[in-house]
C-alpha cells in the first residue's frame, strides 16, 4: 500500500477531475441520445443505425472489463505466463461468435437472445427460461464489476474504510441506471465507444513507454521480468499458478473451455449485434472487435511483464494481494515514480480510465438484462404479447432501476468475493445455459421446446450448484465462507462438467419429448438467418 498511498493525495484531485470530465461528457451524450430515442427499436437496439466499425468499438468496450484490464495485467505480473492464458481464451472465443452466432442472430432476432430461441418454439416457456438465465448471468457479471469498483476506489484514491467502498458501489450503480434509463442502447453504445478509445489509448501509451525502457526488444523485457520476479525462467513458462496439482490442471482446462464457449452466450454481447442494420455489418463488427481486443490483449502482455520488471511483485502484492493494482502502479512508475508530477499524472489518467471501464461495462450489463426482462418476461410472458411498445419500453426502464438496486444491494454484501472467480462463473453459466440452446435452435432441425427449456435450466442449475459446492464458496482460505466447509466439487470453475450437461440436456430433452417440430418454421428460420429475408 505504501507506494500508492504516499502519492495518493497528490493525484486524487486530478483523478477525480478526469473522471468527473468523463462522467459529464458521457452524461451529455446520454441526454443527446435520449432525445433521439423514440420507440422500442431505438431503446433496445440503438435504432439499428451503427456502423460495423462503431459497433466493433462498442463490443470491445463491453468486453474489455476491469477484470481484463486490471485483472489480467495483475495476473501476468504475479503469475507470469499463466496470466497470459486468460487472454488467449478470451480472444479465441470470438471465433465462435464470428462463425456461428453473430450473423444468424442478427437476421433472425429482434431485441434479445430469446427472440432467436423462441422463433420456432412455444413462446412462454422458452422466453421465461432465456430471460431467467440472461438475468442470472448479467447479475453475476455485474457483481464482479461493482465489487471490483469498490476495492479499486479504495486503493487508487487512497481512501480506506468500508464507507468509501459502499458509496462508490452506490454511485456506480446509480450512474449506470441513469445511462440506461435516459440513453437507452444509443446512449450506452456511445459510452462504450468513448470508453474503448480511452482504454486503448491509455494502454498503448503505457505499452510504448514500457517497451522504450527495453530498447523495444521484447526478449529483454521478458528477461528483466523473470529476474525481478524471483522465479527465474519458470516465470515465463506455464505452471506457476495452474501446474501445482492434477486438480489445478483440470481447473485450468475447465476455465479454458468456459472462456471459449461463454463469450458467444453473454447476453450483453449478443444484444450488440442488433445495433447494426445488416448481418454483414454484424460480421464487420466482430471482425473489428477481434482486431481491437486482440491488440489490447497483446498490449496487456507488455503491461503485465512491465509491472513485474519495473514495480516488482513485492510492491504489487503489498498494494493488492490479487495484483489488481499492477497496471496503475506501473503507470506511476513509468511517469517518474512515486512523488513525481509525471507519476501522479499518469497514475491519475490510468485510474480514471479504469473507472470509465467499470462504468461502461455495468451500463451494458444493466441494459441487456432489463431489455430481456421487458421484452421476454414482461411483454411476452406476463402480458402474453399484448403490451404496447410504450408499455414495454417503460417496463424496461423500471427493470433497469430494479436490477440496478438489486446489484447495488448484492454488491454491498459480496464485498469479499473474488472478482475473477465471479467473472469466470458468469462465462461458465453463459456457456452452459445459453450457447447450447442457441446453437441447437439455429442449426438442428429437430430441436424442440422441451429440448430448449431443459438445456437452459440444466446448464444454469448445474453450473450454479457446482459453484455453490466448490472451493469458491467454502473450504478454502479465499472462499466466500472461509470458516465453513461443505464443498465436494473440487474445481473452481464448473465449465468442464456443466457445459456438456447443457448440450446433453438439450439433446435428451428433444429426443424424449413427443412434440413434433414444425418444419415450415425451421425453413423460415433458416432462410431468414442466412439471407436476411424478413429480418427486422
Amino acid at each position: 500500500m505504501t507506494l500508492l498511498a504516499s502519492s495518493a493525495t497528490e493525484h486524487r484531485g486530478l483523478t477525480m477531475t478526469l473522471f468527473g470530465f468523463f462522467v459529464l461528457t458521457t452524461l451529455g451524450i446520454t441526454v443527446w441520445a435520449g432525445r433521439q430515442t423514440k420507440g422500442a427499436a431505438d431503446f433496445y437496439a440503438g435504432g439499428r443505425g451503427f456502423t460495423g466499425f462503431q459497433n466493433g468499438l462498442a463490443i470491445s468496450g463491453d468486453y474489455m472489463s476491469a477484470a481484463s484490464f486490471l485483472g489480467i495485467a495483475g495476473a501476468i505480473a504475479l503469475s507470469g505466463y499463466d496470466g497470459f492464458l486468460y487472454s488467449i481464451g478470451f480472444l479465441v472465443a470470438w471465433l465462435v461468435a464470428l462463425l456461428l452466432v453473430a450473423e444468424p442472430l442478427r437476421n433472425s432476432g429482434r431485441y434479445t437472445m430469446a427472440d432467436v430461441l423462441a422463433f420456432r418454439m412455444k413462446q412462454r416457456p422458452v422466453r421465461t427460461a432465456a430471460g431467467v438465465s440472461t438475468i442470472v448471468v448479467s447479475i453475476f457479471y455485474l457483481l464482479a464489476q461493482m465489487v471490483g469498483a469498490g476495492t479499486l476506489v479504495a486503493l487508487l484514491l487512497g481512501v480506506s474504510g468500508d464507507a468509501a467502498k459502499r458509496w462508490t458501489i452506490v454511485a456506480v450503480g446509480a450512474l449506470m441506471v441513469v445511462y440506461v434509463v435516459i440513453g437507452g442502447m444509443k446512449g450506452t453504445t456511445w459510452v462504450q465507444i468513448v470508453k474503448a478509445v480511452l482504454l486503448i489509448a491509455g494502454t498503448a501509451l503505457m505499452t510504448v513507454l514500457v517497451l522504450a525502457k527495453y530498447h523495444f526488444n521484447p526478449s529483454e523485457l521478458l528477461g528483466a521480468a523473470a529476474d525481478a520476479s524471483g522465479k527465474g525462467a519458470a516465470f515465463l513458462e506455464p505452471g506457476l499458478k495452474y501446474g501445482v496439482s492434477n486438480t489445478s490442471k483440470l481447473d485450468f482446462i475447465s476455465l479454458g473451455i468456459a472462456l471459449v464457449f461463454g463469450t458467444a452466450g453473454l447476453p450483453h454481447i449478443l444484444v450488440r449485434f442488433y445495433t447494426v442494420p445488416t448481418a454483414k455489418a454484424a460480421r464487420k463488427s466482430v471482425l473489428w472487435a477481434i482486431g481491437i481486443i486482440g491488440g489490447f490483449y497483446l498490449m496487456t502482455l507488455a503491461l503485465g511483464f512491465g509491472a513485474a520488471a519495473l514495480v516488482g511483485p513485492k510492491a504489487i502484492k503489498a498494494a493488492n494481494a490479487a495484483g489488481n493494482t499492477a497496471a496503475p502502479q506501473l503507470a506511476e512508475q513509468l511517469g517518474g515514480g512515486a512523488g513525481s508530477t509525471g507519476g501522479a499524472i499518469l497514475l491519475a489518467v490510468i485510474s480514471a480510465v479504469a473507472f470509465a471501464t467499470i462504468l461502461a461495462v455495468v451500463a451494458g450489463l444493466t441494459l441487456a438484462s432489463s431489455a430481456s426482462f421487458a421484452h421476454d418476461l414482461y411483454a411476452n410472458v406476463i402480458r402474453r404479447g399484448k403490451a404496447t411498445e410504450k408499455e414495454e419500453v417503460l417496463s424496461a426502464k423500471w427493470a433497469a432501476v430494479a436490477i440496478g438496486a438489486v446489484a447495488i444491494v448484492l454488491s454491498l454484501f459480496a464485498g469479499k468475493l473474488n472478482t475473477a472467480a465471479l467473472v469466470a462463473l458468469a462465462f461458465a453459466v453463459a456457456a452452459s445455459a445459453n450457447l447450447p440452446t442457441l446453437l441447437f435452435s439455429l442449426f438442428w432441425k429437430r430441436f424442440t421446446t422441451a429440448g430448449a427449456v431443459s438445456s437452459v435450466y440444466a446448464g444454469l442449475i448445474s453450473s450454479v450448484v457446482l459453484v455453490i459446492f466448490s472451493p469458491v464458496v467454502s473450504g478454502a482460505k479465499t472462499a466466500l465462507f472461509p470458516d465453513a466447509d461443505f464443498h465436494w466439487f473440487p474445481l473452481e470453475n464448473p465449465g468442464l462438467v456443466s457445459i456438456p450437461i447443457g448440450f446433453l440436456a438439450g439433446w435428451i430433452g428433444t429426443l424424449l419429448s413427443k412434440e413434433r417440430p414444425d418444419p415450415a418454421k425451421y425453413a423460415e428460420l433458416e432462410v431468414r438467418s442466412l439471407t436476411g429475408l424478413g429480418a427486422h
Binding site: V92, P218, P277, R283, G534
Partner: protein, 118 residues
C-alpha cells in the same frame, strides 16, 4: 428505421428453402463454419493441454528469453486473426452474393433491411 416483418406465406419460404440456390448457399456456409470451428477448438485445446501436461516442451528456449510456450500463445493470436480474415474473404465471395441474389429475387414480397450503412 424498422422494415416491415416477413410478409411471405409459409409456403413461399418453404419454396426458397428447397430451391437449389438456397441449398448451395447453406452448403457454402456450413462447409466453412462447421469444420473451421472444430479445427480452431481442437487447436486451442491442444494448446491448453500442452500448457498443463508438457511443461518441458513449453519451457524450451527459442530465441533469447522467448520460449515455445510464448511462441505457441502468440500463434493462437495469429491463427485467430488469420481465421477471421479468411472468413471475411470467404463470406464476401461465397455467402454475400448468393444471399443478395435470393433477397432480390423475393424482394417484392419481403423487404430486406437496408444494406447501405455498414
Amino acid at each position: 428505421m424498422e422494415s416491415p416483418p416477413i410478409a411471405t406465406a409459409p409456403a413461399d419460404v418453404q419454396l426458397i428453402d428447397d430451391s437449389p440456390e438456397f441449398r448451395t448457399l447453406r452448403r457454402s456456409f456450413r462447409s466453412f463454419a462447421f469444420p473451421v470451428t472444430i479445427g480452431f477448438v481442437l487447436w486451442y485445446l491442444l494448446y491448453v493441454l500442452l500448457s498443463c501436461y508438457a511443461p518441458g516442451l513449453m519451457g524450451t528456449k527459442v530465441v533469447g528469453h522467448i520460449n515455445v510456450a510464448l511462441v505457441l500463445g502468440l500463434l493462437q493470436f495469429a491463427t485467430t486473426f488469420a481465421i477471421a480474415a479468411w472468413y471475411a474473404r470467404y463470406a464476401d465471395r461465397r455467402i454475400d452474393p448468393p444471399a443478395a441474389a435470393i433477397r432480390e429475387a423475393h424482394g417484392a414480397v419481403v423487404h430486406a433491411p437496408r444494406e447501405s450503412a455498414e
